[in-house]
């Protein structure tokens, strides 16, 4: 993919550094710690430089770098696993439908009232296996195909992880919306059909 034509980065390192924000954000969300994120990203860049011959010019460098970073993360993570890697099926949870059931006008302002910090917290609560799919597809705008290659899994796996992650995310955001009073929790139960 062509970066800017006018001032093309001259060296491998310079080009790699144009993707620093993506890597740093990804590392920050995965580690949830700025110092660990910097360590991880620095190690990823050193490894990328060492293995630059394995990068095929003209392919997606951002995806390649991200793959190096997340593989390093997983190497470390497996050694000190303190949290669930994966996510139980929370069942279908559609925030839009839920808000409607609660009598909130969903689109109008519920989302606009949500604090960015709470959205980030909800993303960071996801198990890392699901978190990384959201980071790639929703935050960084990767296609399913690029996400699949980055993560080394089939596209179908990306889609199912994404689906599950979104259910959980919407559930967390709904709970936050109720707790913070953005949505007034109705006492009356919705009639079950």
């Amino acid at each position: 993919m062509a970066e800017s034509q006018s001032q093309a980065p001259t060296t491998f390192a310079e080009e790699a550094l144009t993707h620093l924000d993506t890597l740093y954000r990804g590392a920050l969300r995965l580690t949830r710690d700025p110092d660990q994120a910097q360590d991880l990203v620095q190690e990823a860049y050193l490894r990328a430089l060492r293995y630059q011959h394995s990068y095929q010019t003209g392919t997606n460098m951002k995806a390649w770098l991200f793959a190096i970073m997340r593989n390093l993360f997983w190497d470390r993570f497996k050694g000190s696993r303190k949290e669930d890697v994966s996510l139980d099926d929370v069942g279908e949870f559609v925030l839009y439908d839920k808000l409607r059931d609660e009598g909130a006008k969903p689109e109008a302002d519920v989302l606009d009232k949500m604090a960015a910090s709470e959205v980030v917290a909800a993303v960071e609560e996801l198990p890392p296996l699901h978190r990384e799919v959201v980071l790639l597809v929703d935050v960084e705008g990767f296609s399913y195909k690029d996400a699949a290659e980055t993560l080394g899994v089939p596209i179908g796996t990306v889609m199912s992880r994404l689906h599950r992650a979104r259910q959980q995310l919407q559930k967390s955001l709904f709970e936050y919306a109720v707790e913070s009073g953005i949505v007034r929790a109705s006492n009356k139960e919705m009639p079950t059909q």
């Binding site: 390192a13 620095q42 989302l111 960015a116 935050v139 689906h163």
Partner: protein
């Protein structure tokens, strides 16, 4: 296309992962179905909220400079 079909494709529509035929089918349904249109707009809004909440973090300038020196 009916509402369940549309619902099933909505995520991929929002993610721009449908082929052009499917995109047209969904668009056609959305134009005639306010419920699905509302739901679509909500999903788009939610995706944007997640993106903008997470992508305001950028690498600290000092860290960028440190890397530049290490890598050169």
């Amino acid at each position: 296309m009916n509402c369940p079909d549309c619902k099933e494709k909505l995520d991929r529509y929002v993610d721009r992962e449908l082929n052009s035929t499917e995109v047209l089918e969904v668009q056609l349904h959305l134009e005639g179905c306010p419920d699905c249109m509302d739901s679509y707009e909500f999903q788009t809004h939610l995706k944007r909220l997640i993106k903008h909440s997470c992508d305001c973090d950028t690498a600290p300038a000092a860290f960028r400079e440190k890397l530049r020196q290490i890598l050169s």
